[in-house]
Point group: C2
Chain length 369, copies 2
Amino acid sequence: MQTFTELNMPVRLLMGPGPSEIPPRVLRAMATPLVGHLDPEFLTLMDEIKSLLQSVFRTKNEMTLAISATGSAGMEACFVNLLEPGDEVLIGVNGVFGGRMVDVAQRAGAKVHRVDAPWGKIIEPSQIAEALKKCKPKVVAVVHAETSTGVRQPLEEIGKLSHDAGALFLVDAVTSLGGIDVRVDDWRIDAIYSGTQKCLSCPPGLSPVSFSPSALEVIKNRKTKCQSWYLDVSMLGTYWGTERVYHHTAPITMLYALRESLRLVVEEGMENRFARHQGNHELLREGLESLGCKFLVDPQYRLPELNTVFVPPGVDEAQVRKRLLDEYSIEIGGGLGDLKGKIWRIGLMGASSTPNHVNALLGALSAIL
Amino acid sequence: MQTFTELNMPVRLLMGPGPSEIPPRVLRAMATPLVGHLDPEFLTLMDEIKSLLQSVFRTKNEMTLAISATGSAGMEACFVNLLEPGDEVLIGVNGVFGGRMVDVAQRAGAKVHRVDAPWGKIIEPSQIAEALKKCKPKVVAVVHAETSTGVRQPLEEIGKLSHDAGALFLVDAVTSLGGIDVRVDDWRIDAIYSGTQKCLSCPPGLSPVSFSPSALEVIKNRKTKCQSWYLDVSMLGTYWGTERVYHHTAPITMLYALRESLRLVVEEGMENRFARHQGNHELLREGLESLGCKFLVDPQYRLPELNTVFVPPGVDEAQVRKRLLDEYSIEIGGGLGDLKGKIWRIGLMGASSTPNHVNALLGALSAIL
């Protein structure tokens, strides 16, 4: 029988596309002994998390909670609750996660219309407007922060177009929440999902979601049951709501962690947090440009928390990442899809967004290049 | 704006139907800083977890991994991967979790045949044999350890009947794994799921699963895509396998915890662990019987890790549980469904299975009753 030694993981500077580093207070929260998931003290904690998520999402939506699985399950929860077989959906695809939306929606039996933009570009609102002349979708979906490309998608205009066309507006905020502004109510987003392991600096394992009253009305009027029992929002709502109807067992430790990470966001202040992300992005940008790295994304659409730059000509990008990991214990990400081998993805998310991270990476990169 | 104080959870003796208490080594493992989920060191850790799960499931199944969500998602993963719309499935229902299987299978578009037994009784193999004369299911599914009733379902004979009828054999081992023997290969189980928060004494958030080569063959030959992107075993297999194709972001901290909890299981030794669960069950049984509590389940089918006893006549069961929690910080469970108000469910799972837990509860109960 194979033997297994004590857990002995290296200490990394996490500057990839996620996970980000975890603040000590969040790590400590996870070492807290459990209470039961129906313990009155735990129900209070769920209420607190709901309230904290409402603050961070900037929403009054009652149906705001954390799905007990990672961000991709949050995506699936949004689609399978809003869509029934045969429903039409319009999806903007300009990276991996828009593509994933298409796959998820098709598995829900929906008829998918897609609007494509080159990876590294935004979906233009005019493209959505054009598409809405040719179909009448129940839902329009876009990715706010494309983790595969580093593009920040403007949302307000697409939201307005969607509502004018009688559609619900669905947004992927996995890599935006806690790093750049996400305004669910102001931007009239009907369904939104995020992840914990990006700008919230909490380990992966939960997906914060929020549904507007309009979205809930659609869910209430479904003709068929939601195809997923685990992700059925109507049941999750009675577990997280005042009824406390047992559904599944919530991942208690992860919720301890999420509460602490949200508390840190609120303590820092949202505006301060966004300014920090922006400032460290600018520091990194200057340094990378002086090393000859060009950005993939136009300045006005760059995500400060996820910097995508072309690998300088003649450089073996995988070798550089390997040396960063082996010699400096720094993780950055490579490109996906067509961008594989062509770009690096450098995350400055949550606790990983500090000048020290930036300077450490720039020092290591300039030594290697 | 509401303020949120430091996390300050009470210390409980967890003797309900799960979660169980978490050993200090597992709690400490969760305070470990993260590495990336595609870090070479993390891939090694995933391999180790697979190997440890194979030991604990007593299987050589290559497709053995942890679903990145709780036990109910493991249930859903088994059903939605094996079943396609229109497929027939035979499900044994003698408690909440058999009933949940029916709901999950129906949401997958399957035609469900059910065999019912009273809550607290086993599904008799003769019932399955009889049902198999009238239908030709693709899958036969039963619950090994019914958390709602405390019944241990014998599996071997039903497994044989299923295979003889050309069906795959699917088992819920949420509350059995790590507490009583589960022999995937010897009992020819084709698909099995468990949870981490019961006899493995790891926090909730992951679902260990295993699929036999026959099950994988069925999955490979599906005509339709699995309806769940998140739970699609063919994609999870390439993430957990040597290909390491990015799927979702694994819940890194939870996997640190699972590795440590499995290491504790292996260090203790499976047989020793089962004997410990049995011994503490007997200690509890003697004490409860001397307090006038009668067991719901016949002796030969009792789960040592989940003891279900009738509330003595004239006792307000909810009040007793409230006093146990408020005055002794002990959690036990109440009944579900028709058994609500009639039984207590007392868990002695994993780290919660000690003579000290038993004696503490018996002392508290005799003071209250």
